[in-house]
């Protein structure tokens, strides 16, 4: 559905169900150069198990009007504004990669509005190498290929996503190219710089009041499992480790659902 958020049109996938005015709400936030479609299986599951679902396209991504916002903090505010636009007073916040930092920031800025925080494929700090930043700036297509290669740990993830017959690396590459080509300017470099520049993670974690949960890929080389310890300690978070690379929802959709059900029960 479309919402007016901070004066601009924003899109959120509602999990295949019409939006309703009542009931618990789960928000799903995608990562760099992605859109809501990385979450659709999980979002659809929650939408059909008692939740109102908002799987968002961040500003300047997919169906949401730009420009992209300049910082994780601004994006955290945007998520809270989106909740207000949808008349949601409290929500479970889930994010992947860059989206996990946005969920963290939103949960810290309005602790009373976060029922739970789920950070998937996360790390803090989420530094991006100078080489990758330079490649994203100078040759986004090459950078997409690099990130796509780094994000997948297997040549045979089953049952694949969104279903059998899908080639995950090809789908991820096509999605990133689509989002980049639809954007004004170099969105890939922008998103990476947003991740790289975020310095408020530990402070934000200290302000979070809701239960926090980390879902980590044991083969993730983009956001390695070891880079979550400080964050997990401050959040006092549960940590679920799944055999997967960085593209957790695609490589291990059932395992992520199982871990998420422990965090956000149906």
């Amino acid at each position: 559905m479309k919402l007016d958020v901070q004066g601009r049109s924003a899109y959120a996938y509602t999990g295949g169900k019409a939006w309703s005015d009542a009931g618990p709400c789960a928000v799903f936030i995608h990562g760099a150069l992605n859109d809501h479609s990385v979450w659709t299986l999980l979002a659809r599951w929650y939408a059909h198990h008692g939740y109102r679902v908002l799987a968002v396209d961040l500003p300047g991504h997919g169906r949401s009007e730009g420009p992209p916002l300049a910082s994780v903090e601004a994006l955290g505010d945007w998520v809270l504004a989106l909740l207000a636009a949808a008349n949601v007073t409290s929500a479970h916040l889930a994010g992947h990669s860059m989206g996990s930092l946005i969920a963290l920031e939103a949960a810290s800025r309005a602790p009373e509005r976060a029922a739970a925080l789920v950070m998937v494929g996360t790390a803090y700090p989420m530094k991006v190498s100078d080489a990758l930043l330079a490649t994203a700036r100078d040759d986004p297509g090459k950078a997409i290929a690099m990130v796509n290669a780094f994000s997948h740990s297997s040549l045979a993830s089953k049952p694949s996503y969104p279903g059998p017959g899908a080639w995950l690396r090809g789908g991820s590459s096509a999605l990133m190219h689509r989002i980049q080509s639809d954007a004004d300017g170099n969105l890939f470099e922008h998103d990476f710089r947003v991740c790289d520049a975020y310095a408020g993670g530990i402070e934000a974690a200290r302000r979070v009041a809701c239960p926090a949960h980390l879902i980590i890929g044991s083969r993730d080389v983009m956001t390695p499992a070891k880079a979550t310890k400080d964050l997990a300690d401050v959040l006092d978070a549960t940590v679920a480790r799944i055999v997967s690379g960085h593209a957790l929802m695609q490589e291990a959709p059932d395992e992520v659902l199982n871990a998420m059900r422990a965090a956000i029960p149906a």
Binding site: A149, L155, A156, P162, G165, W167, G170, G171
Partner: protein, 433 residues
């Protein structure tokens, strides 16, 4: 299965989509000959049916063995995914039926396999889908043929049987300017010789019966999607961008930004038309695909030797192989097919129809049958077999003459193939008397 971060083609041909079986440790892909898959619970069943989870329900829709084939083909093509079908014809029909219906229009190359031509020219009009055929080299004709109701541009990477080289970069640009996708039949080239998605195509299909299987054992097809075409932005495809009453008002482009086409093709096309691939067939094609790079290299090497022999033989009027400077698409082939132009080609025999018959019947190693892409060498007379429903004008447009003979060069010793052809040409020469 951990793997290299960015595996190359030959590695993907062996490993993409397949891992050791988690239940048994079997290294080769098991053949899952089962119609159905047990649900863990009623809730699990409901979530699979409602696409809240990925998984297998019924083998008409998906099957673990078949999925390995689909994912491997998609990997080799550089696509987002693929759907295996009962035949190449079923793949073409699935592509069209997913995005076209009564009142729709297709622009297609006139140089098509006869079966594809039959579907477009005779059968689909009965269902309200019209096709305009254009000469594939006439770039302006592609553009001029597009109508407001055009849903698809269609051509073969190498046209059958004259090997017209489809100018995929230019034709795809014309398609995209009009907001429609380009579908390429890449059967003759396979992804080893050309990856149409890298050149601008949006959808690709194969008769997997041919080189992908490579052994002349099973009939199958496959349809792959690049994931790059923006169905919603085009505005021509409500099948994908508007609620679908046949699946709980699902909007496929919202469900999957890059997988919308394949979602509908599987959820509607396989569900309702049912032209699925048997897992046994998928397994046999997978066996073939494991050696695709090795076989294609040898197919092309043998074809080049045979072409060179025929091109210098006095009984041969013309050889239609794009690597020859005499072929009208020679320059295009050098640009788009740097690894070679495959091993299926045609030549025109001098002399009478009787001499043509004598030639075919004198061949010993070449098998006279209606197929291509076998590891064994094959021969056929298109005007009386694969393209027999086409009139003279349509045959001419497809580059087929009454004396045209099509060869599919296999993996035998090239010297033996040349010896067989040499003897048969001698017989044909004597038949003139």
């Amino acid at each position: 299965m951990p793997g290299p971060s960015d595996p190359a083609f030959d590695t993907l041909a062996l490993h993409a989509g397949a891992a050791p079986d988690p239940a048994t440790g079997a290294r080769a892909t098991p053949i899952h000959l089962t119609t159905s898959f047990v649900f863990e619970s009623s809730e699990h069943a409901a979530s699979l049916f409602n696409m809240e989870r990925a998984g297998h329900v019924y083998s008409r829709i998906s099957n673990p063995t078949t999925a390995v084939f689909e994912e491997r083909l998609a990997a080799l093509e550089g696509g987002a995914g693929a759907i295996a079908t009962a035949s190449g014809q079923a793949a073409l029909h699935l592509a069209i039926a997913t995005i076209a219906g009564a009142g729709s229009h297709i622009v297609a190359s006139a140089a098509l396999y006869g079966g594809s031509h039959n579907l477009l020219a005779y059968t689909l009009p009965r269902f309200g889908i019209e096709t305009t055929f254009v000469r594939p080299r006439d770039i302006d004709a592609w553009r001029a043929a597009i109508r407001p109701n055009t849903r698809l541009l269609l051509g073969e990477s190498l046209g059958n049987p004259g090997l017209d080289v489809l100018d995929i970069p230019r034709v795809s640009q014309i398609a995209h300017d009009a907001g429609v996708p380009l579908l390429v039949d890449a059967t003759f080239t396979t992804p080893w010789l050309q990856q149409p998605f890298k050149l601008g195509a949006d959808l690709v299909f194969h008769s997997a019966t041919k080189f992908l299987s490579g052994h002349g054992t099973v009939v199958g097809g496959v349809l792959a999607d690049s994931g790059r075409f923006d169905w919603e932005r085009s505005g021509r495809f409500p099948e994908l961008s508007a609620p679908y009453a046949g699946f709980h008002d699902m909007v496929f482009t919202e469900e999957s930004t890059v997988g919308a086409f394949l979602l509908r093709a599987r959820r509607e096309g396989l569900r309702d038309f049912g032209a699925c691939m048997s897992p046994h067939t998928a397994w046999l094609i997978l066996q073939g695909m494991e050696t695709l790079p090795l076989r294609m290299e040898r197919h092309v090497a043998n074809a080049r030797k045979v072409v060179a022999f025929l091109a210098s033989h006095p009984m041969v009027a013309k050889v239609g192989y794009p690597e020859l400077e005499s072929h009208p698409d020679h320059a295009l082939a050098r640009a788009l097919l740097p690894r070679g132009c495959g091993s299926v080609f045609s030549f025109d025999l001098r002399g009478s129809r009787r001499q043509g018959v004598a030639f075919i019947e004198a061949l010993q190693l070449f098998s006279h049958l209606a197929n291509v892409g076998d590891c064994r060498s094959l021969v056929i007379h298109p005007a009386s077999t694969t393209h027999f429903r086409m009139d003279d004008a349509a045959l001419g447009a497809a580059g087929i003459g009454p004396g045209t003979i099509r060869l599919s060069i296999g993996l035998e010793d090239a010297d033996d193939l040349i010896a067989d052809l040499k003897a048969a040409l001698k017989t044909a020469e004597r038949a003139a008397a």
